[in-house]
Symmetry: C2
């Protein structure tokens, strides 16, 4: 199996998701600016994966700070954190990872800088391993929701490639298959970046999971034909009321699922839930270059001189979501109370990590 | 302005829609097999346009039959009709055009073959000019339905390029603008063939109409943001109950429009209505090469060894349609009675052309 992201002593190694599925290329980034650039340029994407990448980028940057004097070290460290955290605006995990690294730094400021560096590196590596474990729990929790023989539609890539490994939405599918269920997958190609065609289809095929690729605009037709039993998607940020921000097109799939009475599940770790925001309306929606729409493989597809929109995410209101699948359990309506309870459960168990 | 299709004495000239919008290339097809090939290969597409192309292809074929003996001529003529009519399966207009040419032939069989050839050519040219007039009537009828300042979402290309000129769905937009209304357009790019990005955006820009290109999966988000006031699409075949078969993705847009209480209009000539079928369930849905999904501009986008679906059309049930806009008037629910009345009106007026 491939590794989405890995800590090496010489840097942070990632599979370059921009050249998949035709080439499996690994790149090692040797400085925090390079890691932030990789996040920005979408060498790595997916909310949990960029959280881990962010933490590793910060640890990498810290490990190369060239002073043992704590005041100067702090100044450099904060600069690194700010730079990495600003690489992409929508996913909450990047900010979450940055805050976690910063809190750890604050708690260990009295130690020698060599020690602090080791602690930060260990933490970033721990976040990687934790993420895989979290995904496996999400998978086990979500597996129960899928029927024995069923076909699941997914949008974008919330898979091993979007996380440290295993995946959230695809983790639910892997979890169900591990429980002996016969799950087939329909993957929306997910324009414009084609995460579905390039990444989801690739990683499911690598795992021997039956996958059928469709264009985004075919999802309604497939539901109308009775071919889809459930929808499972990931999330880039979930508001405290359950509104879920995810890849552009997710909202359309949710409306379609509702119209066809098909359950619509969001699979995401607690780190994706932003308790500081009341609803999805507070989530900034990143717009990326219009070239992603007007060009493909370097070839112009659309005429010049027209308007183009390229919002990268949309918000699915909680009312269209059947359940949110987390590592701490499955939350159903009313989401606000259910989500709050998840965090309280977490506190009680003292499993940490709450921002 | 460009010409989608044109009769020349040396053959049938078409703008090559496969190379738009980057190149404006015209090709002249000198035999009926070449015209059928152009329909098959999507040099020309759009139900009304391929109806006209079919008629011209048949006239062209007939004009080159090398016998004056009517029995042999008939045999060759029927072969030509069968070949051209079989070029694409879903659009009703191709069959409609073929039957019209065949009926005309039957009615004139007693004439010398040189005379028959002239009659067939004149008919094909008449069908071209009729189509433009029909579209202008559709435009005028539909213009009334759009509010003075409004933004219309359209899917695929039901424009001048999909017809002999002016367009059906885009005809409605042109008609409204001619009436002094301020209409802006959102165009779905329409995967996989990108008729929206390549053709709709191109022809609207040529006309100076404000157009914003989006990926198909953004339509829901734009509606959610309150940016869309109405949807107008074309149709490839409409059943006698109002179910409308159109480019894949149209059904998804219709479901979205319903969920957002946005009117959803289908603009099409009577020749698109198939009174022989009761519902859309009887319409065969063409599937085209999966390469349209897995490749773009010669570059592979998806991994090998996966399943791919590529249905070209879907069926929007009549219940999701606010009104069908035809050259004979606007039909609302109940569609069955309204559509029947349209054809009776047509018969009474003796304007001909009913198959």
């Amino acid at each position: 199996m491939f590794k989405t992201i890995e800590w090496l002593d010489r840097g942070v190694r990632m599979i370059d998701q921009r050249v998949l599925p035709t080439r499996e290329v690994y790149k090692t980034f040797r400085g925090y600016k390079e890691v932030a650039g990789a996040i920005q340029d979408m060498v790595i994407r997916g909310a949990p994966a960029i959280g881990v990448a962010g933490a590793m980028g910060i640890a990498l940057g810290a490990s190369k700070i060239n002073t043992e004097e704590i005041k100067a070290f702090t100044k450099d460290f904060k600069k690194i954190v700010r730079h990495v955290a600003g690489a992409r605006p929508t996913a909450v995990n990047l900010g979450w990872a940055a805050r976690r690294m910063e809190a750890l730094f604050e708690a260990n400021k009295d130690k020698p800088t060599a020690e602090i560096k080791k602690i930060l590196i260990a933490e970033a590596r721990k976040m990687h391993d934790e993420d895989v474990l979290i995904n496996k729990k999400i998978g086990a929790n979500g597996a129960r929701l899928l029927k024995k023989n069923s076909t699941v539609l997914t949008h974008c890539n919330a898979g091993a490639l979007a996380t440290a490994g295993y995946g959230t939405a695809l983790g639910v599918i892997r979890g169900a298959i591990e429980k002996g269920k016969n799950i087939k997958v329909f993957a929306d190609e997910t324009r414009p970046f084609l995460q579905g065609a390039r990444l989801t289809a690739w990683e499911l095929k690598k795992d021997g999971i039956d996958v059928t690729l469709i264009a985004d605009n075919m999802a309604g037709h497939m539901m109308q034909q009775g071919l889809i039993d459930a929808v499972v998607v990931g999330a880039d940020r979930i508001a405290s009321n359950g509104d879920a921000c995810n890849k552009i097109g997710t909202y359309t799939v949710a409306v379609l699922a509702k119209a066809h009475k098909i359950p619509f599940y969001v699979a995401a770790p607690l780190s994706t839930i932003d308790m500081d925001i009341k609803t999805g309306a507070e989530i900034p929606i990143e717009e990326r270059s219009i070239k992603e729409i007007t060009h493909m493989a370097g070839k112009r597809l659309a005429p010049t001189g027209i308007n183009v929109r390229n919002p990268v995410f949309d918000v699915t209101p909680a009312k269209l979501i059947t359940a949110i699948i987390t590592e701490k359990g499955v939350v159903k309506k009313p989401f606000k109370a259910g989500i709050k309870a998840l965090f309280e459960k977490k506190k009680k168990k003292k499993t940490g990590n709450k921002k």
